[in-house]
């Protein structure tokens, strides 16, 4: 997904504007005219300047015939597009359900689903998903004592 530099520039300026707005109620150092707001404001001003140059560039690129937004070839292939969107979607799913359901079932289901989606054979996908889940759990939860969510398996583990 290539957006024209104008779009990027506008977004940068909007973001920097928000940043400066948020610094307005930061306190100053006692006896000085500046404080924690100084550095973010300098950065935001820099970004606004860059955004302006990007807009100028983008406009001339647009005049030269480049589109506002262009999608890569793979986005026209539904399977590839779905594969791409699946990755962040699965991470969001993990964020939402892992605490209740627990690491082991969620990780196993996610791996198995992805393996099968990417056309691995079930006889390979099942054992690999189980083994990978177990190794990651063993390493992080058992060895490194990371409190991976237990969820449904609280009573068993």
């Amino acid at each position: 997904m290539r957006t024209n530099d104008t779009v990027t520039g506008l977004m940068l300026i909007a973001l920097s504007g928000l940043m400066i707005y948020l610094t307005l109620d930061f306190p100053d150092f006692p006896g000085q005219k500046y404080g924690p707001s100084l550095f973010p404001r300098i950065l935001a001003s820099g970004l606004i300047l860059c955004g302006a140059i990007l807009i100028a560039r983008g406009v001339s690129a647009r005049r030269a015939g480049l589109p506002w937004i262009a999608f890569a070839d793979w986005t026209r292939d539904p399977w590839r597009l779905a594969s791409f969107l699946m990755l962040p979607a699965l991470v969001v799913l993990y964020i939402l359900v892992s605490e209740q359901v627990g690491f082991i079932p969620v990780a196993f289901a996610m791996l198995l689903f992805m393996f099968l989606w990417f056309r691995a054979r079930l006889v390979v996908a099942l054992p690999v998903a189980a083994a990978a889940t177990w190794i990651v759990h063993w390493f992080f939860a058992t060895m490194m004592r990371v409190p991976l969510p237990r969820g449904l398996l609280t009573d068993i583990l």
Binding site: L12, F29, K33, P36, L87, P147
Partner: protein
């Protein structure tokens, strides 16, 4: 000093450390050899593991894995015409054409040996230069540190990038992200939107996993079912004929290593740029430039030495000033801070044994490269056949758990996801992600030295030039800016 060196040997020759280095070497070779997985990604994936280790094995793991990965990137270049890491891209075509001519053995042998020796060259310079620079740096105050950070960030955005403006935007974004959380001068919470977790700022490791690993995965999934054609040729004795190559091209080796070391030590430019430049230099000064591009070994010798020497040289500014030489050392600096081993000249005085341990591990890693690299070449066809449709999902799971482990909460995963998508969009639009991580790592030091200097000089900018070294660094930085701006303006006018 000798006590410290003795201590350092004791630290490194611990069986646990050696075991970690060996495992990281194998890991580095594998990640480097897999197209689409880079040395930076190897580091990003290692950090959550090293987080739980003492400093020496943690650093040892990163050093060994990156050195191996940069070499291993040469293997698929020769066999599939796909560079395993961007550092091998400069001579991928040359390598592949050489293999097509039936010189696969010689090519892989030269890549292996010159990578190892080039790496040792870079390490030698690191060992010689770092302590000397550290002595100079001991006299630095906040003014010098401010300018040093400014100079480092300037180099990172301008020298290394195809589009300096976009590099600069990336850097500012990184610095802006670093301002989230408690501010370092007054302790006031900034941009936290009332969230308790955001008070700690954007955790560096999940952000890095997102930028370097998740964005790679997003690019990887859309080509997951495409595979390149493997060379049919079998690997034989890779060391045959290397003596002759050395006798003919030893000058290329030294020049490549020297260029690689110089570029590696520059903030912001790493192994990939070292390889591109030394390959171009090799062609420019060759007696037979017409042979370049037909499967000629000369440029490969020079560039493969250069990229490995750059790996070690990037540690010079990182250890001495705490200013990263490339994205990998940016990650390393983050790790050092977490281990309370803040990089800077003081480490050389307070904990010299840790610095010597880094040196020893670097030598060890480059020596280890010969046997492990040889084994990897022999097993290359099996390694390159690893199914990506199984590998990518496992890396995703690992990224999720690794990010979670850093904050022990969902917050880490959210940072990873946001930064991953952000990194992907940036790269799609030609914004480099390296400067973001530099900004994120250096942000606090940069702001702190800036604010301290402002308070010291009572808000006067002249104070920034009041000390001789600070003034020199400041003027250098400003001259670089003026030079880049005028060059940019001129190049804009000419082609139009």
């Amino acid at each position: 000093m000798w006590d410290a060196i003795g201590l350092a040997f004791g630290l490194v020759l611990d069986p646990y450390v050696l075991w970690v280095c060996l495992a990281s070497a194998v890991f580095g070779i594998f990640v480097g050899a897999m197209p689409g997985l880079t040395a930076t990604m190897a580091t990003a994936l290692l950090v959550p593991i090293t987080f739980f280790m003492p400093p020496v094995p943690a650093i040892g793991a990163i050093v060994t894995a990156t050195a191996m990965a940069i070499f291993a990137g040469d293997i698929p270049a020769a066999m599939l015409r796909i560079p395993g890491t961007p550092a091998s891209a400069a001579y991928t075509d040359e390598s592949y054409l050489m293999s097509r001519k039936g010189l696969l053995d010689l090519n892989l042998g030269a890549n292996l040996v010159f990578s190892a020796v080039g790496g040792l060259f870079g390490v030698a310079i690191l060992i010689l230069a770092a302590p000397l620079l550290a002595e100079v740096a001991l006299n630095f105050s906040s003014f010098e540190y401010f300018w040093l950070a400014a100079l480092g960030l300037t180099c990172a955005t301008f020298i290394a990038q195809a589009d300096p403006l976009k590099g600069f935007v990336a850097l500012l974004m990184g610095l802006a992200i670093a301002t989230i959380g408690i501010d370092p001068a007054a302790g006031h919470p900034r941009f936290t939107f009332g969230s308790v977790e955001m008070l700690q700022g954007v955790s560096f490791i999940p952000a890095m996993i997102g930028l370097f690993a998740i964005s790679e995965l997003l690019r990887g999934v859309v080509t997951i079912d495409q595979s390149a054609e493997m060379l049919k040729q079998q690997v034989g004795n890779v060391f045959r004929g290397l003596g002759q190559v050395w006798r003919r091209y030893w000058r290329n080796f030294f020049r490549g290593s020297l260029i690689g070391t110089g570029i590696g030590a520059l903030p912001g430019a790493g192994a990939d740029i070292a390889a591109w430049i030394s390959y171009a230099v090799s062609k420019r000064f060759s007696k037979e430039p017409e042979k370049f591009g037909t499967g000629h070994i000369e440029g490969i010798v020079e560039a493969t030495s250069a990229n490995n020497s750059a790996v070690a040289a990037a540690w010079i500014p990182a250890l001495v000033f705490g200013i990263p030489g490339d994205s990998i050392t940016a990650i390393v600096i983050g790790v050092l801070y977490m281990k309370n081993m803040n990089p800077g000249p003081a480490v050389f005085l307070q904990n010299p044994q840790l610095i010597y341990a880094v040196f020893i591990i670097f030598v060890l890693a480059n020596l280890l490269m010969l046997p492990i690299g040889w084994a990897a070449i022999k097993l290359a066809k099996q390694i390159l056949r690893t199914p990506r449709n199984m590998l990518l999902p496992m890396i995703l799971l690992f990224c999720i758990v690794g990010s979670y482990a850093m904050t022990n909460s969902i917050y880490g995963i959210i940072i990873m996801l946001v930064m991953g998508l952000f990194g992907w969009i940036m790269e799609e639009n030609g914004f480099p992600v390296g400067p973001v991580i530099l900004g994120l790592v250096l942000g606090e030091l940069f702001e702190q030295s800036f604010m301290t200097s402002m308070i010291k000089s009572d808000g006067s900018l002249l104070g920034f030039f009041s000390r001789p070294i600070a003034a020199t660094l400041g003027v250098t930085t400003i001259l670089l800016w003026v030079y880049m701006l005028t060059r940019n303006a001129r190049s804009r006018r000419e082609p139009a």
